[in-house]
C-alpha cells in the first residue's frame, strides 16, 4: 500500500445553523484516483474549499504530505501542492489561454519587482521557462491551437481543459477536480477520462467530485460518499455501489 498523501481528521464546517461538514475523516493515498460523491448539497464542494484554504474549518485537522495544513491561506495551499478546478469554471476570462497557465506557474517562480524592472538574465530565463512549461501544458490538454485566444472565447470543453492545465501548472501533488465532466457530452467525457488517467500516470494524485456515476465507478480506485455533510461510506467502487446507506442517500429509504 502506498503512502498517505492527505489525511482529513474530523473536519467540520458550519454556515450559521447549517452543518455543511460534520466530522468528515478520510485518507487519500499517493497515486490514487479518489472519488467524492454524494447528493446535491452533501458538502463535497465545501470540503474542496476547506482543503484549498478558501474556507477555514470550524474543527478538525488536515495533514498533507506529512505536514499539518494551515487552512485559510489559499496561496500557501498551492505552495504545498494542492491545486483545484471549479464546478463553475473560473478562468481569468480576459487573459489568453497561455497567460492563464502562466499565472498558474506563479507559485513555483519568484521574479518580483526588481526582476521586472532590471530584466536581468535570471528573470528572462525564468520567464522563458514559464512560457515553455505553459506551452507543454497547452499541448498536454490538447488546446495548443487556442493559446492566444482569450479564455472567455474558448468553447466550454476547452475551458474545462484549460482550467485543468492551469491547475497542473502549479505542479500539484494533489489535483482536486470539481465536477470536471459537468455539461460534457459522451465523447468529451471519454476524452476527459483519458486525460485524468494520464495525469495519474504522471504521478499526480487525483481527488474527483463527480455526478457522472459511470465515470466515477470506472475511474476511481476508492470512493467516499457524503450525505448531509457526513461521510456515510468509503470503499472501492464495487462495494460502494451496493452499500444500502448509499442507495438510501440517493434514492430515499425503503418504503415500510
Amino acid at each position: 500500500m502506498s503512502a498517505l498523501l492527505l489525511e482529513a481528521r474530523n473536519i467540520a464546517k458550519h454556515f450559521g445553523g447549517v452543518k455543511a461538514l460534520r466530522d468528515v475523516s478520510l485518507t487519500i493515498r499517493e497515486g490514487e484516483i479518489y472519488g467524492l460523491i454524494g447528493p446535491n448539497g452533501a458538502g463535497k464542494t465545501t470540503f474542496f474549499n476547506v482543503l484549498t484554504g478558501l474556507y477555514t474549518p470550524d474543527g478538525g485537522d488536515l495533514v498533507f504530505a506529512g505536514q499539518k495544513l494551515v487552512a485559510s491561506a489559499p496561496h500557501k495551499a498551492a505552495q504545498r501542492g494542492i491545486a483545484r478546478t471549479f464546478q463553475n469554471i473560473r478562468l481569468f476570462g480576459n487573459m489568453t489561454a497561455m497567460e492563464n497557465i502562466m499565472v498558474g506557474r506563479h507559485v513555483r517562480t519568484s521574479a518580483g519587482v526588481i526582476g521586472a524592472v532590471l530584466h536581468d538574465r535570471r528573470t528572462c530565463a525564468e520567464e522563458a521557462a514559464i512560457r515553455r512549461r505553459a506551452e507543454e501544458l497547452l499541448h498536454y490538454v490538447d488546446i495548443a491551437d487556442r493559446a492566444d485566444d482569450l479564455a472567455r472565447n474558448l468553447s466550454y470543453g476547452d475551458q474545462r481543459r484549460l482550467e485543468i492545465a492551469r491547475a497542473l501548472a502549479t505542479d500539484p501533488k494533489l489535483l482536486a477536480l470539481d465536477e470536471p465532466a459537468a455539461g460534457m457530452n459522451g465523447t468529451e467525457t471519454a476524452e476527459l477520462r483519458v486525460l485524468i488517467e494520464g495525469i495519474r500516470a504522471d504521478g499526480i494524485t487525483v481527488l474527483l467530485i463527480e455526478h457522472d456515476v459511470k465515470l466515477v465507478m470506472g475511474l476511481c480506485d476508492r470512493v467516499a460518499v457524503l450525505d448531509y455533510g457526513a461521510k456515510i461510506c468509503e470503499d472501492v467502487p464495487a462495494v460502494v455501489q451496493h452499500d444500502p446507506r448509499v442507495i438510501e442517500a440517493y434514492l430515499g429509504g425503503a418504503v415500510a
Binding site: 496561496h75 499565472v103 506563479h106 514559464i130 502549479t170
Partner: protein, 307 residues
C-alpha cells in the same frame, strides 16, 4: 494658427501629467474596485517633498538639473511609502467591508493628508526656484520649453514601462489575475495582499513624478493642489474607461487637450464674456457628458482589460 499649435503643446504637457495621475486611479480601481480619492494628495506630497529638497540644496552649487533630479529622487520613495501606508492603514482593514466604506475612508484620508501637509508646509504657495535651464524650442511659430519636452518624454517613457510591466512580466500577470478574481489568483499562489500593496506603490511613484512635473511646469506648489488635480485625473480615468490602463493614458491626454484648447478659445467663442480662468469647467463638463452618455468610457467596455 500659432495659438492653436501652442494650445496643443500646452494640452499635451498637461495631458501627460493627467495621464500619469489617472493611471494611479485606474490601477487601484482595476484591482480592487476602489476609487482612491487620496491619490491627488499623494501627487501634492510628491511636489512638496521635491520642492523642499530642492530648496535645501539651493546653496550647494550643484547644477540645476542635478538638484531637480535629487528632489525627484527624494519625492518618489516618500510617495511610495505614503501610498503603501494609505493602503495598509486605511483600506486593508476594510477589504471585506461594503464598497461605500472604503470610498468614504478615501475621502477622509484625503482630508487628513491635506491637513498634515498644511501643518508641515504651511498655507503659503511655494515657488519652484528657477534652477532648470530655460531652453525654448520653436515649433510652427509656437514655443515649447525644455521642461515641457522633458515632461512629455518622461511621461511617455513611464507609460510604456508600466504597459510592459503589466503585459509582459510575471508580476503584471499576477496583477491582472488579481484584478479579475483575487481568490482564484490566490489559489495560483499569488499573494494578493502583496499585489495590492505593490499597485499602490507603483501608482504612487507615478504620482510623485507627476507632482514634481506640475510644480516644475507651473513653478508653484501648495498643500491644496492635489485636490483639483486629483479630481481632474479621476475625470481623465473615467473618460478613458476606469480600470483600463490604455484608457487612462488616452483620457489624460484628451482631457489635457480639451482643457487647453477650451481655455485658449473660450474668450473668442463667448465674445470675451468668459475667460481662460474657466478652464476648470471643461474637465467637469466632460465628466458629466461621459457619465451620461458613455459611463464605461471611451476604451472601456464591460469586459475591459483591467490591471
Amino acid at each position: 494658427m500659432d495659438i492653436f499649435i501652442q494650445q496643443i503643446i500646452n494640452g499635451l504637457v498637461l495631458g501627460s501629467i493627467y495621464a500619469l495621475v489617472a493611471l494611479g486611479y485606474t490601477m487601484v480601481y482595476g484591482i480592487m474596485g476602489l476609487i482612491n480619492f487620496a491619490h491627488g494628495e499623494v501627487v501634492m506630497i510628491g511636489a512638496m517633498v521635491a520642492l523642499t529638497v530642492i530648496n535645501l540644496l539651493l546653496g550647494s552649487g550643484l547644477p540645476g538639473v542635478v538638484m531637480a533630479l535629487i528632489g525627484l529622487a527624494a519625492a518618489v520613495p516618500v510617495c511610495m511609502a505614503t501610498g503603501f501606508a494609505i493602503e495598509r492603514i486605511a483600506y486593508r482593514p476594510l477589504r471585506n467591508a461594503p464598497k461605500l466604506a472604503p470610498l468614504i475612508t478615501a475621502i477622509g484620508v484625503s482630508i487628513v493628508l491635506q491637513n498634515v501637509a498644511m501643518l508641515v508646509w504651511g498655507r503659503n504657495y511655494h515657488a519652484f526656484p528657477p534652477i532648470l535651464p530655460s531652453v525654448d524650442f520653436e515649433v510652427f511659430e509656437a514655443t515649447i520649453t525644455g521642461v515641457q519636452v522633458a515632461i512629455i518624454a518622461i511621461a511617455a517613457l513611464m507609460m510604456i514601462g508600466l504597459t510592459l510591466l503589466v503585459q509582459r512580466t510575471r508580476l503584471g500577470r499576477a496583477m491582472r489575475a488579481t484584478a479579475e478574481n483575487p481568490s482564484i489568483a490566490q489559489l495560483m499562489g499569488v499573494d494578493t495582499n502583496r499585489i495590492i500593496s505593490l499597485t499602490f506603490v507603483i501608482g504612487s511613484s507615478l504620482a510623485a513624478v507627476a507632482g514634481f512635473m506640475v510644480s516644475a511646469n507651473y513653478s508653484i506648489a501648495h498643500y491644496y493642489m492635489g485636490f483639483i488635480l486629483g479630481l481632474k485625473a479621476f475625470t481623465a480615468a473615467v473618460l478613458g474607461g476606469i480600470g483600463n490602463l490604455a484608457g487612462a493614458m488616452l483620457g489624460g491626454i484628451l482631457l489635457g487637450l480639451i482643457e487647453s484648447l477650451g481655455a485658449g478659445y473660450i474668450g473668442d467663442l463667448t465674445g470675451g464674456f468668459l475667460g481662460s480662468h474657466y478652464q476648470d469647467v471643461f474637465a467637469f463638463f466632460v465628466l458629466i457628458l461621459v457619465l451620461v452618455f458613455r459611463p464605461s468610457g471611451l476604451v472601456g467596455e464591460k469586459v475591459a482589460e483591467r490591471a
